[in-house]
Every structure is written in C-alpha cells, then in structure tokens.
Symmetry: C2
Subunit: 140 residues, 2 copies
DNA sequence: TCCAAAATGATAACTGTTCTTAATTATTAA
DNA sequence: TTAATAATTAAGAACAGTTATCATTTTGGA
C-alpha cells in the first residue's frame, strides 16, 4: 500500500464493506455489493485491493472454498465452520482455543519448522442445509 | 467409480504413486511422474481419477495451496504444516489430537451445525527455508 | 497550480480444472 | 466366440477465477 495517509475512496469502501459483514465474502460478492453505490468500480480493483490488504495484514484469507477465495476482515485468531452444501462460513466463538503456545513450541522442535500461524476449519452441514436435506429425504 | 472389481491400470497407477509419497502432490506432479512409465497418460485422466478417489473417500484433499490443489492418500485424521515459502506440506505426527469429540459435540449445539470433519493446518517456514532466509539476510 | 506517484477501468492474458467427444478397452450375456 | 453394453480414456476445447497490462485519472505534497 503506497498510499501514505488515507485510503482512496474505493479502497476504503472495499475495506468497509468487508469489515461490516461476517459472511466471509468473495471478491465477486464485494464487487456486486459495491457496484450499486460505486457504479464505475472495476472487479480488478477489488482483487488488487484485497491483495494489498492481505500483504499488510489488514485482511486474512479464509482459504479457497469451492473454487472461490473467501476473505475476512476479522484478523483475530479464530476458527471457522464451512457448510459442505451451501458453502456458508460461520465463525467459531473466539473463546475456543484449540492449540496453545506450548503445543506449538513442541511441534516446532519435533518437526523442525517455524510456525507463524495456524487455523482450524470444521466442515459439515449448517442448520439450514441439515433441515433441507431431511425434508428432501421425506419426499422420497 | 463404476468399475466393479478392479481398478483400471491407469487408475491403479495414479492411486499407487499417490499412496507411495508423503509429499501431498498436485495433479500435475502425479501426471509428470507417471508420464515416464505411462507415456500415453493424459492429465485429464489424473484429474478425473482424483475426483473419483475423493468421492469414494479413498483420497483426501489437503486444500488449495498457492493455487494448486494438494492430495493425500493418507485418510487418517491428521494435521499438516505448510511452508509459506516453498509450499512443502509436512504431516504432523498423528498422535496429536487437538479437538476431541466432546468439544465437537458442544460446538454443534452452540453453532447449530452438524460437523462431519475438521482439519488443522499450521503455516510457517520449514527448516530448509528458515536456513535459506537467514543466509540471505547475512549477505546484505 | 504543477508534478510525480499511486490508483484505477477496461480488458486481455493466464492458469488450474472441468467438460466434450470420439475412440478404446473391459465386462456381461447369450 | 461374439455381440451388446458399460466404463475408461486421450486430446484438446471450454471454463472460471484471478492476475497482468496499459492508458488514463486521481491523489497528495511542493
């Protein structure tokens, strides 16, 4: 990010919409949702700024889910649940810590690696999809 | 997999090379490494069979690392370390269990989800890359 | 106001993966 | 064995998400 003081208007809008949602959106979603307010926004700008945010640590990638990279402006260490059906991503309450520092230290020695961060992702069916699937199976 | 009895020769070769390495390779790597033995192998066949293996649970995806999906024939629940520099993937000794069943049950209730599986990935620098980077900084 | 650096829109290019199609191979049934 | 059927394949086109290019515009400081 070479912009020294402030974000450009578009950069700010991209960060703002990302940090105001907990849906862990894709670049495309951000683009579509800003397009109404900023008609001359380009998808390339969204991608470009997301890269900038990732580099500076302002935004984290949740990973590539079903072919789309998902982003999160909440950079606190926390875990995610991913629905295998609708690909919704839900935050796991941040109180949950699964791996403590001493475990990480042990792992570093044992595996000869330097660990910078880690993430835990749970996969399964969200409440909505569970219901839908049980209704479908009644229909048969 | 509609083939009822045995794997076809190529399908078998793909599974064999994947289960004989712990490098968590890409489809491309499998293709390149089989090409010498099976000159008429096609990359599409590798992708197709990896999909078949994933569907039947014979093979798991480690996820998309640096734009390439990585595969693992070791389907036991285990964790991975990913090097942020060379993208090597190392298995974490399987004795390590970070999330127990009662924790999962609690999470399911708390978040209204049905958890099917989970994975833990550590990111950082592998031993080799750590050394390389410290040598580079000496040079400056 | 002027200038250099940064950011942008439009779109082409790239890349990993999936799909299509015609051909080949394996399996089944008679 | 032979014919019918099903599964698998190679080759390459198609696809989709993302990145790169480049001319233009915007920005912030002198």
């Amino acid at each position: 990010m070479q912009c020294k003081r402030n974000f450009s208007a578009k950069r700010e809008a991209i960060y703002k919409i990302l940090s105001s949602t907990d849906s862990h959106p894709t670049a495309e979603w951000i683009y579509e949702n800003l397009k109404t307010q900023i008609p001359d926004l380009s998808l390339g700008t969204v991608y470009r700024n997301l890269s900038v945010f990732k580099e500076t640590g302002l935004v984290k990638s949740v990973g590539v889910i079903n072919g789309h990279e998902r982003f999160d402006a909440n950079t606190f260490q926390h875990s995610h649940f991913v629905c295998n059906c609708c690909f919704k991503i839900i935050d796991i309450p941040k109180s949950k810590t699964f791996v403590d520092q001493s475990t990480i230290n042990n792992l570093e020695n044992e595996c000869d690696v330097h660990i910078q961060n880690h993430n835990i992702t749970f996969y399964g069916l969200c409440g909505d999809c569970s219901k839908k699937i049980s209704v479908e199976s009644e229909d048969i």
